[in-house]
Structure formats: structure tokens, C-alpha cells
Symmetry: C2
Subunit: 137 residues, 2 copies
């Protein structure tokens, strides 16, 4: 296997998530963008193994629907939950949380943001390696 084949490659039509708000490599493909008449956006998000987003919250909340792989969802002060395909999480407005892959494989979910005109996310600090490793225990 060449070095090139070991680098993660983008899912079709996806672009890399901004490094400011993510640890590791994640990909985002918007299926329904802001400014549509439902005021709701839908993104298809894939995290490579070990990748996660920063602690953050959403002004109007968010729904995650897992479509492939397994990964973590953790709200501040709560234990991390391991999510599997077909499972969904409803996140209340303002609740601080993170989500991402396990250390062992890719994780893909839809990210549904109602009320997108109120703002999509308020970003905080990265999830530290210590916090991330604790999710696996």
C-alpha cells in the first residue's frame, strides 16, 4: 500500500470541515443549505477515526441521525453515548456537547439544524485527548 492510499479521502461531494472547530479530519456535504424555505439545514458529516468536533451548542438545537459506523455523542457533565446506524439524538437549544468517531473507524451522521437563521452553532474549546479517551472507557 502506498503512502497516498493511507490518507483519508473525501466522500463524494464533501469538503473538509474547518480545522478551527474540529480535531482530526472530518468531511461535510450539505444536502440542504441555509436560506431554503424550511429554515432547516441538513448536512452529511463523516468523521475519520479519532476525529471529533469541539464542544459547541446550537441556538435552535440539532438532530443527529446516524447513517454509518459508530461514534460518540456527549453532553457536558454527562457520560458519552455510543451511537449506531439508525439511531437519532435530539439536542436541545443551548446544550453544550460534542460528537465524533471512535478511535477505530469512520462515523457518519446527518446533522439537521432547524431555525438555521438564528445561527447554526456556537463553538467552544476542543475536546481534549483526555476527554476523548474517557469516552472510550
Amino acid at each position: 500500500m502506498s503512502h497516498q492510499e493511507q490518507l483519508p479521502s473525501a466522500p463524494q461531494g464533501a469538503t473538509q470541515a474547518p480545522a478551527d472547530n474540529f480535531t482530526g479530519v472530518a468531511w461535510v456535504k450539505m444536502l440542504v443549505s441555509a436560506g431554503n424555505p424550511t429554515d432547516c439545514t441538513v448536512g452529511d458529516v463523516t468523521f475519520e477515526a479519532g476525529a471529533r468536533n469541539n464542544w459547541h451548542s446550537h441556538p435552535s438545537g440539532q438532530i443527529l441521525v446516524v447513517t454509518a459506523g459508530s461514534g460518540y455523542y456527549q453532553e457536558q457533565g454527562q457520560p458519552a453515548r455510543l451511537l449506531h446506524p439508525g439511531e437519532a439524538v435530539s439536542i436541545a437549544p443551548g446544550v453544550v456537547h460534542w460528537h465524533g468517531a471512535t478511535a477505530n473507524g469512520r462515523f457518519t451522521h446527518l446533522a439537521i439544524n432547524p431555525g438555521a437563521s438564528n445561527g447554526v452553532a456556537d463553538w467552544g474549546a476542543p475536546v481534549t485527548d483526555e476527554e476523548y479517551q474517557a469516552a472510550h472507557s
Copy 2:
């Protein structure tokens, strides 16, 4: 093959969609139900071949995300669109439309309804066989 094996069977965890608003057999599994803090619901909807819902609209609009099979989406006065996995449709509030399978196979999509507390759907007349067959032409 016994007669029993020829009947369509429900996807895991799904219940049959109400006959009043559907032609043919469709299944609904709610992934995120009404009353959650995002005020947005997500249903996993499967139409058997030939099945479709009645003409209807949504007070706060709707987003469809196709997950398996191919099927039709038609707005009143517009030609039907054939949708494929990975495609999404944003439906404005009050726009009258229907969706469903082709005559040839199952069709599955997520149905995302923001603003569910405003009401989920206003149901109209069934899509006639003539209207349905015209979608295939």
C-alpha cells in the same frame, strides 16, 4: 413461495402508514417524535412498489432525504421528479405535493418536519392512478 411470503413485511420497528392518507402500503418509523426540544420530527418512511401518499402540504414545510430505492416527488402543477439515494428536497410551507415509490420497487426516505407544533400535514385527495401513471412517463 407461500402466499404469506408474497405480502410486504414491515421494516424493523415500523408501523403501517394510515390508509386514509396513503394509496398502497407504506411504513413509518419515527426516529424523533413530536414534543422534543427542537420542535422538529424525523420519520423513516418506506413505500412499497406502487405506494404513494395523498396530495398534502406542511404548515412549516418539510425536507425529504432519500436513503434507499428511487421514487417520485411531485408539486402541484409541476412535473414529477425521480429521486435517488443521497438526494434531498426542501418543500416550502403550504406547497401541495405527493411522494412515493415507482411501480417497480421500494422507496425509502427520511421525512424531516421542522416546526412540528404548528401541525405536521394538511391532507388532501388521493393521487389518482392517472396522476400516478403520468409520473412514470
